[in-house]
Symmetry: C2
Subunit: 347 residues, 2 copies
Amino acid sequence: MRATTIHGPFDMRVEDVPDPVVQEATDAVVRVLRACICGSDLWAYRGESARQPGQRIGHEFLGVVEETGSDVSGFRPGDLVVAPFVWSDGSCEYCREGLHTSCPRGGFWGSVGSDGGQGEAVRVPFADGTLVRLPADAVSDDRLLTALLALSDVMGTGHHAALGAGVAPGTTVAVVGDGAVGLCGVLAARRLGAERIIALGRHRARTDIARAFGATDVVAERGEAAEAAVRELTGGQGAHAVIEAVGTEQSMRTAVAITRDGGAIGYVGVPHGSGTGLDLSTMFDRNIALHGGVAPVRAYIPELLTDVLDGTIDPSPVFDLTVGLDSVPYGYEAMDGRTALKVLVKP
Amino acid sequence: MRATTIHGPFDMRVEDVPDPVVQEATDAVVRVLRACICGSDLWAYRGESARQPGQRIGHEFLGVVEETGSDVSGFRPGDLVVAPFVWSDGSCEYCREGLHTSCPRGGFWGSVGSDGGQGEAVRVPFADGTLVRLPADAVSDDRLLTALLALSDVMGTGHHAALGAGVAPGTTVAVVGDGAVGLCGVLAARRLGAERIIALGRHRARTDIARAFGATDVVAERGEAAEAAVRELTGGQGAHAVIEAVGTEQSMRTAVAITRDGGAIGYVGVPHGSGTGLDLSTMFDRNIALHGGVAPVRAYIPELLTDVLDGTIDPSPVFDLTVGLDSVPYGYEAMDGRTALKVLVKP
């Protein structure tokens, strides 16, 4: 089959690789219908996260089950399914608690030896614990399929950030980061009943989506000017709940500065310097909590799926460019250059 | 009157200072019956927190109301009262939420221009919002009076750490720091229903108190050996709830290492390097939350007071040395040299 591989910084290729097959009795093989490129893939693309030459990439996909191992009981060939960005056994203590990302037998798509989502098919370990079935008729609804793909990562990650930040009915929320996760954070905050949602961002196409997702205010300033603007919008206090969806020193510094005393930062931006942006003395004096991390999206898919299917939420607008598998390298270029927000891949 | 002043590192003096008087209509003057020295006072003593020469010190005290301003309605001369370590107006949005430490009109005893607790009397701003009345007959019960003094800071701070760490019935708790706050954290964790409480400490006198307060296990090792010991005690996972009551890089590093995935660190150690001990990448991968800060003990005094009065908790054993006012400098020496755990001052 064909799949995307990474050979070094800015060197993405689409190559022939071995067809995935069931290796363990708990495996399934899924033919990919939709995949996408994640903002976090750019860390590898830019050489800021190490990868072995030829390693697969892509951790978001949905598709059709093609083959199942003898121990797989929850799925059969032909089922339409979505995968969270981490596989997990579904039976350990952490999985039962909903912290699937800490499953001792779990792993990330695209890690060495595993398939990535940006290819024609994927071998899925622990299929019963990992996959979630989608309604079969969604396959013929292009927009719905795109919205469902967001359950693989960005929608669940935005939801995780909103939970970590303590979003609840009546709260004021600020969102740092205008990428797909930040925008899904806006959508998640609205879904959780936030009264006011302040989106930080300066790119009109993105802030338009933020407004459509429920942002009540947009702050286009950066750095200290942005902090001042959020304070002005919140009576000088800052936001109860702040979503940090970038992971850099500056984004975390901004997040701390705009959090109301006693509030919380829900952080889901993969840390790339953000630890340095944490001013612990300020957080201590103001009782600001930090609560987030890699999102256990498998735990969130069922409830979010319900809301996508009934139209309560529609994260599909975060995908603004569609490419075929052979154009994935172009998709990376477009996201790296910020000419695309999030790239949908149709293998 | 006589009061303790700090003139430079290791230079504590007990001097004649002006008698406190009611300056604002909301003030009260309290004659101090019991005060004490806090572990956090040692940062100033050692020169690691800047002070102006002659500044007052001490932020924990209880005593008898001597005079009240015309707007004070909740107290009158003769009332036995305890003060939290921060004064606050009791009426602002933050005070009403229970985050008295963020009161815009609040302040710390011993800050420039204010009285400190380690003296004969204290001018108390916003007496109605700040002070809490104690039963009059407690004045004749020496042990009870000592236990009640702990409500001024260490007991409420330990409780704040336990809440931040998410202590709840059935949880496993680990406590980093064997000072008075850490020990009160043990007591608070037991009060909140923790099933297992692991105290880290190597000083027998302190770990004996920890056991008396409810610790089920004591880990005497340090650094990586301590982390390994906690992991072994917790089936390799770490503790759900970790109380960090020191504030150094090493203590925070230990706290992160011994927190179970998905758990939380309740930190109340005043940050002195602890930010550097936060490994955000580890916290991100393992979804470890950080939740604490300066404790709004005013909010906690009523419920803790009830439990002290009915004997449910007795934090008095954390005081292991008693001095008169003139011997406060000796008290600092003893705490700095760790020959005393916490020094009680009887002016």
